[in-house]
Symmetry: none
Subunit: 212 residues, 4 copies
């Protein structure tokens, strides 16, 4: 399969899955937009499922490459700075690749869909695992309270990651694409969220350990 055609199919198919979700996405529409024959499509990909899993894999790689610079010197940042950077690049990635993001979010939100299990069987890690690792490190460095449930907190932070991206999509939809304006607004929002994660939203200081 020539590189050019592969990229075309990828682009069109991601848009399709992003717009309709896995079930309602149509092979017909994809091949029509790509102006390739249906038969050709089935020579490149076994079936719709194969295409989807291929794309999910590629998307994962792409996103990982996008955020990997953050992990080059993992020791030099504290946990909250790290996840701030992760959230920021997550949103930057979403802004640059909205369709890719929508597709990824669809998968995240449809973990009961049969195809989700097929995905995990392929060995794809999801973001949650990353947070679990970072949290363990942060606890060992005393940056994070030790009395948390690791799995639960990583799951929750993961949800917040998706949540903030969706919030962004909902609130900037239709606005003029002033990049600076976007940056300012979203930096503020992420900072609020990190603040939220770090300190909560209560006015009282935490429990009895304030006086220690």
């Amino acid at each position: 399969m020539p590189e050019e055609k592969r990229q075309l199919i990828e682009k069109v198919a991601i848009r399709e899955f992003a717009a309709f979700g896995y079930d309602k996405a149509g092979v017909n529409r994809i091949v029509e937009q790509c102006k390739i024959a249906k038969g050709s499509f089935y020579q490149y990909f076994e079936d719709k499922k194969d295409l989807f899993l291929y794309l999910i894999t590629r998307v994962g790689e792409k996103k990982l490459k996008f955020i990997s610079p953050i992990f080059q010197n993992p020791g030099q940042y504290d946990f909250f700075t790290l996840i701030r950077q992760l959230f920021m690049s997550g949103i930057k990635f979403a802004a640059d690749n909205p369709e890719v993001t929508l597709m990824g979010n669809w998968m995240f939100k449809n973990k009961s869909h049969p195809i989700y299990n097929e995905m995990v069987d392929m060995g794809l890690k999801n973001a949650q695992n990353i947070y679990t690792g970072l949290l363990e490190q942060a606890i060992s460095r005393s940056e994070v309270r030790a009395d948390i449930d690791l799995n639960f907190v990583s799951h929750t932070i993961s949800s917040m990651n998706i949540s903030v991206i969706e919030y962004y999509f909902q609130n900037v939809k239709g606005e003029e694409p002033d990049i600076r304006k976007f940056d300012e607004g979203i930096i503020e929002t992420v900072d609020l969220l990190i603040d939220f994660i770090k300190y909560g939203i209560g006015t009282q200081k935490k429990g009895g350990n304030d006086n220690d």
Copy 2:
């Protein structure tokens, strides 16, 4: 429509929508499981959409009735106690009505689906609005920091609500239904989450205002 049959259809249809989502849910499967004729179904409901919206309405009513005791004396609890109770009864409701919950969550996670707009056109409120109101009150009482973005925080707490329910479903799926065990585990989890929301997960006290 006799009460008995209405309940049967309701139960079967909720399971269907929960398992497959709106689009992939099949009227065929529903009538087969109910052992009623296809024609009978269409005497009870105009179409698939009608059934879905009817169920969503019923589910909303049911859930509202379930959590309404919390709002009987809204003044006597502080914000964090209130949302703790909301989360708790949300999870209790989810545990008692897993399919109903899955169906509700499907709707929550598919706000771009055409049927979502039809639902809001019917006047159904979603959970987020509740949080916005509670947060405003909490800020006026100085229970919550005033420098938060109301919409964003209510959106995030709403997501956490769903998130914790999903976490619960994933982690107790398959286990024996030992109610006591569940209660203990989930109380702990919710408390952790409320703690999370209230104080964050950082070991440091918030900013400079500790010394004020």
Copy 3:
């Protein structure tokens, strides 16, 4: 079946058949509008066909009664005066009973429909037969040329009868129901048609018999 209910069903059913034709007419809609039970309907009538044929019969009787005065002294009028009167009362009947007329016209225009044969098997005469009789008499009185094909001319005049009614329906649709205006316009139109039938539309006199 009480008289009151019979008349209601008749009225509603005629409107239904007029609006949708035999095939698309719905028993559901009829019983809904009549506010009678479906079961009751099938106690009055064997099936949809039975209802239709009953109505067609009644309509035929009604129309015959309406135009019968014309035939009380058939000898006193010449052929063209008679059919002028027939056309006139046909249109008057159509104006007074538009739905009945539409239903009758549907049957006239769907002679290839299976139900048409069932109708003729019941022994219902159609208008064409009337014209055949009148034409025979007119020829014997030398009011009409003898070199015509009886069946063909009666068929054609019959078509014209329907045609003028349809023309009327199309051209007065939406106008205010000023009866006088209607009468004037339609009298003129019928006179033109009778003129048409009597003398044709050519400017030349017929053939060589002008010089006789």
Copy 4:
């Protein structure tokens, strides 16, 4: 779509629409008779409506091509000769293409059907317009009386055109297809009709011009 199959579908579908009308015509029956899969049908045509409108267009073209020679030298014939030729070729066309004709007549007789408007929106002319133009010309040439209602007469002649074709179908149905016999009989019938239109059927000459 291969020519062979296109012709098969066309033929079968025209027969179906001719026999049952638009609403009762069944895609199922069509594909069964063509021995093609249902899916194939829907690759050729968007839906039933698309098929019908395609056929009506084709039929219109076919008929227009059939009668177009008549209009090559429109000036050389008087009005009555022209419509005689139109009627004659109309019947000839009907004899050669009975199903096509039945389908066209169905449309003519169902002007209140929703699909009729879709047809006129496509820009298809109906026969009536042709007669209006010819009549205007004929009046200016003093071949036709000037005191007629143009719309009404063209509408009536149009009806007669359909009427004569139906008369023909009814009276030759079942007879052996002796072309010569047909020709003789139908020529006679059309001549009678033209005579009818030209001079009417009265024995008296028209109005005051008898004494000229």
